[in-house]
């Protein structure tokens, strides 16, 4: 199972990013979210969602093998991670982030909260 984006349905409200941070870190702080929304304004006037499709490029880039796959989801082992940022640079979708309050990069855990909350069904789950 993975997340898929229907960007043409997105209205840019950002509820997905807030619920992501609240679910994974118990924080009201969209800067801790593991997905992105880019507004293309004034033209052409569309939103583009950036999300993790669990491609695993981050795991390949990690020099200390801190990112491991489990049932199709790549997760960071905080004890192993050295916060070098190689995975952030390598992510082809630009959806791994650093944050001053976090010891490790922020990465999608496929918790599904974003897809559950999106009022536009712009985020969906697919096999």
């Amino acid at each position: 199972m993975k997340l898929i984006a229907k960007s043409e349905r997105c209205s840019g409200c950002g509820a997905c990013r807030l619920v992501c941070a609240l679910t994974n870190f118990a924080q009201v702080n969209p800067a801790m979210a593991a997905l992105s929304i880019h507004g293309r304004f004034p033209a052409p006037g569309v939103y583009e969602i950036g999300l993790c499709d669990q491609c695993g490029v981050c795991a390949e880039a990690c020099p200390v093998d801190a990112i491991e796959e489990n049932n199709g989801v790549y997760l960071i082992d905080a004890d192993t991670c050295i916060a070098c940022g190689e995975c952030i640079d390598a992510c082809p979708h630009g959806v791994m982030f650093e944050h001053a309050q976090m010891d490790t990069p922020i990465k999608c855990t496929l918790c599904k909260a974003c897809a559950e909350i999106c009022p536009r069904d712009a985020l969906q789950l697919a096999e």
């Binding site: 950002g14 509820a15 118990a26 702080n29 969209p30 800067a31 507004g39 004034p42 006037g45 909350i117």
Partner: protein, 637 residues
């Protein structure tokens, strides 16, 4: 630590470039909740006597509320306040988008600007880092163009406010623009920012907002989103947004047409919500965390240009559309774009343009004065007037002062059809046969604006249901009977506490007003966010207190303020509606006095509309009551 709040106030004295951060007083949060409450209390406490609204001593305030930026439907509202350039009294205006949440994530519940920058400047807030930077390269740019430039230079993570040429030139109804189409449009708040030489404010925040119960917030937030989605209006109201009410408004004869000469237009389907979807829309554009985005972003192609624009929403459709008789939605959208880029409030600008065109028709303004022929229904006329106003060119210099002052200057009876209250132009509902809504406009604390109370459903359909209920209701008759005037005050006052309560909390009211979303959600969300229990009724009591405070501020600031400032324009009291469902109806001065007498009595005000000492004391506003002897209302105008 105050849960639910960022916990700090950011003050910038632009004259001295002194930047101060102070803790948010617990007492302020407890007594005034946030947003509009913070704005009103700060203006009362800090505004110096006889401050020029466009002088350096005026305050520019931006404030969010405890629910702003929280995980819940539509938590994106920011409230702005100042001494109003439009009225000289209390002024506030709010916008959606993402600015207030960003300010909160940066660590601030309120931003207060005082003084005046020595040259055009940009205020940049990045968490703890705050700087005032040169913006000479931005001065003169349109609002949308300036935002585009700043996003290109700074990155799209910044939430940006801009003003256009109208704000730079201190037009009394200049707005501030955000997120390519969201405006705090009213009271001339953009002129205040322009008077401070601030072209733009950019905010980027990366900090967490402390909340009492994060797990509870996650559960209650999810429940709220589920319940919004279950409302019939979720799929019924959202697609067209605010413009979806156009057909109903016209059906009940409340659609301002031809400078409010009438209240019905048989061409309304050319500019209604369906027309927006059919001819303009590219995408729905949502404010922060909004599940029901009313913003319709689109592209308008006219003979004058091909533009991208958010809107028009209902108010713009009404004041630039029917009121100027622009008969194609692309024309209304183009005029909307011109206003956005110039930084003009579409409501006031629409009223001023329609007044000027009527003056031209009546021979009170000629071609030489205006600079060209102008006519209702002509987009080029409207665009010409808007450009003149924003740049204070020719007749625009007078029109930029607002319809009240322009009519005083032109004279010859033109004040009778200058559609305003207190100097603020009337928004999108004609109500010669809607006495409750008429009273709402007359007593709105900022002037003739609908945000404070909206009771048209009660007036014209006997309904207290949601807007979506009205939209899907069946028409009952083509001709409406004359409405009873007496007995309207209680409903108006209830609405005047209810709608502005959302402005205290820092959230959008539309889920509640338009879809019928239950208020119990807000009680639970307030509790998990702040850790404090407050019933809806208790919150309404705070809203009532703020109402008494804002009236007091206007009485303190405006010489001669009182009953005389609450009357509608003469047109509504002497010209019966010529056609449509309310044909033949108007409201007499005697009926207006009945409305005011009943309202003042229920408010605890004297017959001149001034709060009584005991009323203010009962509201916990003893300091306000004590200041009454110094109020400017006791001086002659």
């Amino acid at each position: 630590m105050l849960n639910g709040y960022a916990g700090a106030i950011l003050r910038v004295d632009l004259t001295t470039e002194t930047i101060t951060k102070q803790p948010l007083p617990v007492g302020l949060a407890e007594a005034f909740i946030g947003g509009r409450g913070f704005v009103a209390k700060t203006l009362f406490d800090e505004l110096k006597p006889d401050t020029d609204p466009l002088g350096p001593d005026n305050l520019f305030i931006a404030a969010s509320g405890p629910l702003s930026g929280q995980f819940m439907p539509a938590s994106g509202k920011t409230h702005f306040g100042c001494k109003s350039p439009a009225t000289g009294g209390y002024g506030d205006s709010n916008l959606g988008g993402h600015f207030g949440p960003a300010l909160k994530y940066a660590g601030y519940d309120m931003l207060i600007l005082t003084g005046r920058a020595a040259s055009p400047s940009l205020l940049v807030i990045e968490d703890d880092s705050v700087s005032v930077r040169p913006a000479d390269n931005l001065w003169g740019l349109g609002s949308l163009s300036a935002e585009t430039r700043l996003k290109e230079e700074m990155g799209e993570d910044y939430q940006i406010l801009t003003i256009g040429p109208a704000g730079e030139n201190r037009v009394k109804y200049a707005c501030i623009t955000h997120d390519f189409g969201r405006q705090a449009g009213r009271v001339g708040i953009g002129a205040v920012l322009g008077s401070k030489n601030i072209k733009a404010i950019a905010v980027k925040g990366t900090q967490s907002i402390p909340v009492a119960d994060p797990k509870g917030l996650l559960e209650e937030g999810k429940r709220a989103y589920r319940d919004v989605r279950a409302k019939p209006g979720f799929t019924g109201w959202t697609p067209e947004g605010t413009a979806g009410i156009t057909d109903w408004i016209n059906r009940v004869g409340a659609f301002p047409t031809r400078n409010f000469q009438t209240s019905y237009w048989d061409q309304h389907t050319q500019i209604n919500g369906a027309a927006i979807l059919r001819e303009l829309k590219i995408t729905d554009k949502g404010c922060y965390c909004c599940p029901t985005p009313c913003g319709k972003y689109g592209r308008a192609k006219t003979g004058l240009g091909d533009v991208y624009v958010e809107g028009p929403e209902f108010e713009t459709n009404s004041l630039l559309g029917s009121n100027c008789l622009l008969g194609e939605i692309s024309e209304v959208a183009y005029a909307n774009y011109i206003c956005d880029e110039l930084g003009l409030d579409t409501i006031s600008a629409g009223v001023v343009c329609s007044w000027a065109i009527e003056c031209y028709e009546k021979g009170l303004l000629d071609r030489d004065a205006i600079g060209r022929e102008v006519a209702f229904g002509d987009l080029a006329s409207v665009v010409h007037l808007l450009e003149c106003i924003a740049r204070r060119r020719g007749i625009g210099d007078l029109l930029a002062e607002g319809v009240k002052q322009a009519a005083q200057k032109i004279g010859e009876g033109s004040d009778a059809f200058a559609i305003h209250v207190k100097g603020l132009e009337w928004s999108g509902y004609e109500c010669r046969n809607a006495p409750g809504m008429m009273l709402a406009y007359m007593t709105s604390d900022i002037g003739a604006h609908h945000a404070r109370a909206w009771v048209l459903g009660h007036d014209l359909a006997g309904s207290s249901g949601s807007v979506h209920d009205l939209i899907v209701s069946e028409a009952k008759s083509d001709k409406l009977p004359k409405s009873e005037v007496s007995g309207r005050a209680a409903t108006v006052i209830e609405s005047q506490h209810l709608r502005p309560l959302f402005d205290l909390l820092g959230i959008c009211r539309l889920q509640f007003m338009e879809l019928g979303f239950e208020v119990e959600h807000y009680e639970r969300l307030y509790e998990v966010v702040t850790g404090k229990r407050m019933t809806w009724k208790q919150m309404l009591a705070v809203s009532e207190k703020v109402w008494q405070l804002t009236r007091s501020i206007s009485a303190r600031e405006i010489p001669g303020f009182g009953r005389g400032w609450d009357y509608p324009p003469e047109r509504f009291m002497s010209e019966p509606v010529p056609d449509g469902p309310n044909q033949g109806h108007c409201i007499s001065r005697k009926e207006v006095d009945i409305l005011l007498d009943e309202y003042y009595a229920m408010r605890g005000w004297d017959s001149n509309g001034l709060p009584k000492v005991e009323t203010l004391q009962a509201m916990g506003l003893a300091d306000v009551a004590a200041s009454m002897p110094e109020w400017a209302c006791h001086r002659s105008t």
